[in-house]
Amino acid sequence: MDWVNTILQGVLLGGLYALFAAGLSLIFGVMRLVNVAHGDLIVLAAYLALVVTGTLGLDPLAALAVVVPLMALLGYLLQRLLLNRTLGDDLLPPLLVTFGLSVIIQNALLEIFSADSRRLQAGPLEVASLTLPGGLAVGVLPLLQFFLAVLVIAGLQLLFYRTPLGRAFRATSDDPAVARLMGLDNRHVFALAMALSLAVVAVAGVLLAVRSNFDPAIGPARLIFGFEAVIIGGLGSLWGTLVGGVLLGVAQSVGAKLDPGWQILAGHLLFLLVLAIRPEGLFPKVRG
């Protein structure tokens, strides 16, 4: 039963990783931009949630109603004012600029909030648990977070394949030059994609902040987890990303169970294994 519990916890953790990954792969998919600051933006959202819960007295889940739109707006402006200028045939400028952004965000957070470890309190919800048959106990909060993650991914899937905006994203991703001739303004479409990505980042950041301690320096590791989940799942597939996140979460949990020091290592090993055996990921999207 101990092992079942370990795997279950890993699955629930994987939902969070899938959220890290979804925003990342969305941006890469639409505009071939590798956002190195993605992890730091997650941490920024966590601090934003800290401020919002602190000043408005909201509980963390209610704080989403403030943090999500704020991050989306930040994403739109970031893309419109900065990142659009870095896009072109060369992949290097966006990498460099987002790397710089990552350094700036980390240092700004350090300056404002210090290096102290923080945590968002979710009140009685934190200790509530469900008892499953067989004597397993699952925390209500991790369960809620997992379902929220699945909901977000399902929402993204729906948006991408069932709405005009989703078609605009896919069309622009296919051929940005022709998309302009179909009335699509790339700068606006890219900015909307970044807004959506940071909305997902906001959800991920709030969930992260409730789940574990955070400080200004943990962004890059979240970025790595996001990358690994994307690659394991296969680029361009949202459900694949969810599976990738879950597998990564399970690998980490199992690793930690074997030896507390092996948590991160086990995740990396799974990632390397997938890369070696199926470099295109488990559920690659077949392109026409």
Binding site: T163, P164, R167, A168, R170, A171, S173, D174, D175, A177, V178, A179, R180, L181, M182, G183, L184, D185, R287, G288
Partner: protein
Amino acid sequence: MPPILALEGIAKRFGAVVVADGIDLSVQAGEALGVLGPNGAGKTTLFGIITGTVEPDGGRILFAGRDVTRLSPARRCRLGIARSFQIPQPFGGLTVFENLLTAACFGAGIAERAAYGECLDILDRCGLVEKANLRAGKLTLLDRKRLELARALATRPRLLLLDEVAGGLTEPEARQLVELIRALRSSGITIVWIEHVLHALAAVVDRVVVLHGGGVIAEGSVAEVVRNPAVAEVYMGIPVDA
């Protein structure tokens, strides 16, 4: 009424190569104009300049009397300028129907629900209804060319720029597309058509211009321009039969 399209002194060079050296051209609403010229004469570049993907070094582009020289390609599309590409460029990851819906929603600014019926109608006219749910990347060349036209139509163009529609198709295939273009023209859409297949062109257009060396070297009906000595000279070596 001002012409639907007027180019005034359009100039464009790529390094030492002059592709347009003060081109003046005007097209009346409802007209069908053919554009001829040897490879490298700047015909396709001219389409780029009209649609806004290529920035001219000088000159003005007027669309229905309005100066659109500084407008983005997206804005020009919404005003009613559409083009097809010689090598079809569908959104390969989208279905045929989604290709049209995207063009209708964003190029013509129609709400999605209204776009459904209109796009189906266009697919029907272009003979693509049965392929509506196929991924555009999987189509045959003929169907890609049809989609190229259909998608341009979904933006509700007033001016349609066609780039070598008949090239690479068999005789009967080309004939089908020519029929379609003729029907579009009768429905009131102004057409400017680059085409090397002269009899296809002759079946639709009233007037052709011949581009060479950055300028218009001849103008008239297809029959007239092929007899023009200047045209015969630039096409030297290329058999021209009308």
